[in-house]
Symmetry: C2
Subunit: 407 residues, 2 copies
């Protein structure tokens, strides 16, 4: 993870959606003959800056209605999550909002937010459901992702997170909700092809390790990849379960135990860290990133973009905070949002590198040194983005976060 190959004066040859050659610019002149490309078919784009692989944001909850502004202030004034829930906030506020909001409105709100993430360099974005918590509303959320995947120049991968929270109507019969997930929701989503993976919020007070194992095993039986929100605040065996199931990723991990670290290091499961979340929640803690790295775990970073605990619109800030707060090297931070972000989605052979055969997702940054992408805080260094070989129209100027109306 500490290795980055920097080519100072480079050229990239793209054919269709794929990269076919990367090398020194002085060698690019002969490419048309080497690759038997007629000169007239060659479209040359000269750029200055630092060209990076498109960023992979492997953990977001990008489909939601209104931002949870009240929760932000309640937490600032010292309310804990129980008091916030009692006051009408928390995840269930977003659930009520999403259930009530028309699909077309969710599509347009999410479109603005996805474009914002893309403008900050994220060319592949995982999007979880989890604000519906009924079969119909989880499907609605996943259809929003499908619609935007088809109409926006960005790769979206959908994950079913029906086990984000026990819905209020099942509060006193949680076993029934787990059965509903296993027997109806997961098979229906898998059959509709609306998600490639299934995730569970595994944490004391949300879903237990036993419940998570049942849900994720059901998902694997239906052919879905599995992921876990694990050990976010305390170590409860979530990371160990992820390793046992050979999950794509175990995410959060602020409270991971030593046994959990060892389990992840010995598994193919990627540890996904979300440094903005702990900061936005007002905590001074972070996941033990260096211990994970030193143990040999693969580490990715993501935004956790969501209305409650991380309204973070891009990965450059996540990278800078990963250096400052998680103790990563700049190279580790960059690898964590490219190669390893792709690995956390099972796409490491396809994207996350500027190399022949890889998808031509590229990000141009207006900086002198590539490390600056993981250094400046709160700005956007991205000046151009290509996905699948095509230049994207970025948001003109500042970022639109989507104008919303209350439900």
């Amino acid at each position: 993870m500490t290795e980055i190959e920097v080519l100072p004066d480079a050229a990239v040859l793209i054919d269709g959606e794929r990269i076919t050659w990367v090398g020194p610019r002085r060698e690019a002149g002969g490419l048309h003959s080497a690759f038997r490309i007629p000169r007239s078919a060659l479209d040359v784009v000269e750029v200055t800056g630092v060209l990076l692989p498109g960023f992979v944001d492997c953990h977001t909850h990008a489909v939601f209605g209104a931002p949870r502004l009240d929760d932000h202030q309640r937490r600032a004034l010292g309310m804990d999550y129980r008091a916030i829930a009692a006051a009408g906030g928390g995840i269930l506020e977003s659930v009520r909002d999403l259930r009530a909001r028309p699909e077309a409105e969710l599509i347009e709100l999410t479109r603005g937010r996805i474009r914002t993430l893309l403008s900050h360099g994220s060319t592949t974005i995982e999007v979880k459901s989890g604000y519906g918590l009924t079969l119909e509303t989880e499907l609605k959320q996943l259809r929003v992702v499908r619609e935007l995947a088809a109409s926006e120049p960005v790769s979206l991968t959908a994950t079913l997170l029906g086990a984000h929270e026990v819905p209020p109507e099942f509060r006193h019969r949680r076993a029934e909700y787990v059965r509903l997930l296993c027997d109806e929701m997961i098979p229906a989503v898998a059959q509709a092809g609306l998600a490639g993976a299934c995730d569970v919020f595994c944490e004391p007070g949300v879903f237990s390790v036993t419940e998570a194992r049942a849900i994720l095993t059901a998902a694997q039986r239906c052919g879905l990849g599995v992921k876990l929100h694990a050990d976010e605040l305390q170590g409860s065996g979530g990371a160990e379960l992820a390793a046992e199931l050979r999950a794509l990723s175990a995410d959060h991990l602020t409270g991971i135990s030593d046994a959990g670290i060892r389990a992840l290091a010995a598994s193919p499961t990627v540890a996904v860290l979300l440094p903005v979340t702990m900061i936005f929640l007002g905590s001074g803690r972070q996941a033990p990133a260096r211990q994970l790295l030193e143990a040999g775990a693969a580490l990715a970073l993501a935004s956790d973009f969501n209305p409650g605990s991380s309204p973070a619109v891009g990965l450059p800030l996540v990278m800078a905070l990963a250096v400052s707060q998680l103790g990563l090297r700049h190279a580790e931070a960059l690898n964590a949002v490219t190669v390893n972000g792709a690995a956390a989605l099972g796409m490491a052979a396809d994207r996350g590198q500027i190399a022949p055969g890889f998808r031509a997702d590229l990000v141009l940054c207006d900086v002198s040194d590539w490390r600056e992408v993981a250094y400046w805080v709160g700005g956007n260094p991205v000046t151009a983005v290509w996905t699948g070989g095509s230049a994207c129209r970025l948001l003109p100027g500042p970022v639109s976060l989507g104008r919303h109306v209350p439900t």
Copy 2:
């Protein structure tokens, strides 16, 4: 500080550089007759979004050469400030860079960075010297500020921070450097009119309270306002000294003592908090903002924009972190970068409010609810900026942080 007046469908009348009227849009139709303005002289601009007072960034070190990328990573890997200094980093790295770099190059580097801050809504920016530490190079840094104040559409106020660090050539005769500051540098800067205030980095290991008192008293004799970097990591009487001197502001304050809090609360001195800095330095600590507020201190927020401990390019992120990390209400965060930011520069009667008589510095944000400006993390909600009544050309699209070359 908790009060914000929100006008839902408002109009602002500007005459030259000043605001002359604010009120409901439905009352704006009669303004031309009420103010005896010929209809033909009225230039109407319709905008949608949230219009805020221009932000006042009352603490930056915006004139510098290269970003200190190595320091960022050294700190991530566990080096403390002594080890970083021994490796060639720290403030003295920026001092060597600034001393060697031609003034014209500093002007262009700083121009890009000031435009970036402006694009994020900062219409008034305090800029400190402190990377020269000789009379000639401190003057060079302050001339950069004067040149940009004259040529960019933003208000810049310069502060002499000759007491940022003891320069290496005075390491073993620090009393001589304090005398040089008091007897030569401060009078020369005041006489040249190149700074309105003087600041001292008052912290154990940098300048003591006794040295800071001598320097700031000399500054007051020369007619300069005074400010203090106080109690950044430990309480050493810096806040008390600021109150004793009736300083414009005491800044940082992570380690402020209870006595310091009481002293500031009983004084006109503004407490300036810099939440990005502690995060960028990898700390989990923050200044006791709520204790300061509850004691009755006036509180402002700033970016601390500098290459070593806070490469933070705008105040929206600072506001969001202030809510999350300092426990501020959204209204307190907004007041802290407008009214109180202006107070920390002695300009509270002139800017920081959308009110008749105030300077027409305005920021338009593409959000539905004003609180979102202090909520989304890492994006830029600002879509338009007016300074002194004139629309600014913002950076086209993403932000330019200035392409630099090594010295």
